[in-house]
Symmetry: C2
Subunit: 195 residues, 2 copies
């Protein structure tokens, strides 16, 4: 069998990534066999191993891609929220909830990722993407050194669980509004703790 051009190869890799993203989101990491991914993408497992090295490697690529999408949504929302730091924080958090739940990537990003790639590594990846802005916003608001780390971690955890809770109430605008209000309460408290 032939070999594809560099362009076709990139397309193959992308196809595998998209297929894997959908299957992981639908069935979870453990229940998806690489054979399923390969078949759905129209290739064999050889192609998957060539491009991603291992099942975990493929999963890590999926996670990174999803995180980039979420992070860009957060940044865009924050940029659009004007110059006020706390307004940017609030807008970014809302955007995070929207992006994470809408992508139907909740399971992959928030449930499977910590278990598969390890909590510490996941935490670090997360910290480099979406959580940076949370941390920086808290720091800009004057949260002292000792509380910055734990408050960031706890608010991040609160938002993750809010997203998971929201994912269990799809299309429920009242639930979404309640989550936003709850989030505002906690964020205000964290910001107020600095002064």
């Amino acid at each position: 069998m032939p070999r594809a051009s560099a362009e076709d190869a990139a397309r193959t890799a992308r196809s595998i990534l998209d297929t894997a993203t959908a299957l992981f989101a639908e069935s979870g990491f453990a229940a998806v066999a690489l054979e399923d991914v390969a078949a759905a993408a129209g290739v064999t497992r050889g192609a998957v191993y060539h491009h991603y090295g291992s099942k975990r490697g493929l999963f890590a690529a999926v996670v990174a891609h999803l995180q980039e999408r979420v992070a860009s949504a957060v940044v865009a929302a924050a940029d659009q929220a004007g110059a006020d730091a706390s307004a940017q924080l609030r807008a970014g958090c809302i955007a995070f909830l929207d992006a994470v739940t809408d992508a139907s990537a909740v399971r992959t990003l928030l449930v499977d990722a910590p278990a598969v790639i390890g909590w510490a590594e996941w935490r670090q990846l997360d910290a480099e993407h979406s959580v940076v802005h949370l941390r920086e916003a808290l720091a800009a608001a004057g949260v002292t050194g000792a509380l910055l780390e734990p408050l960031t971690a706890m608010l991040s955890g609160a938002m993750n669980d809010a997203a998971l809770w929201l994912a269990g109430h799809p299309g429920d605008s009242a639930a979404r509004a309640a989550a936003h209000r709850s989030l505002a309460i906690l964020l205000d408290a964290a910001l107020a703790s600095a002064s």
Copy 2:
């Protein structure tokens, strides 16, 4: 080969449970083979399947056992905190952090469990054990119906991530103090939101 008395059988089951608890905490669910558990417990996989049915069944039993330990610690601390509801809440949360991190069960309870037994089921199990008291305390403090669920979920998530963060700073009393202060800030805000 012989058969053991009912008493011996219970001891075997318990030995398997304890061994599995240690191995799951150390290496994570996916990296532990039932052969490892059986060998470390001095039996064969047959015994494991006899008592727990499947790998997930064994894991579920481990999770249930750990949750009971944590829950009893939370209840004991709350009972000892006097009659004030908010004081009970605070004491219970501190006890939760201590119990979860001390048991070296952070990984099993907070990282692996949602992925292995499914987030929804884990959430329900969690809600029936430790989170009940959080929800009841918030309700007793007058948190309205619409906010009760999301606030409970978010505070639970905040505490879980606080525990995970603390697990990364073992023996660091300054970190523990900072986590306690951060927790107090969020709890106070939630309680204050009711009035």
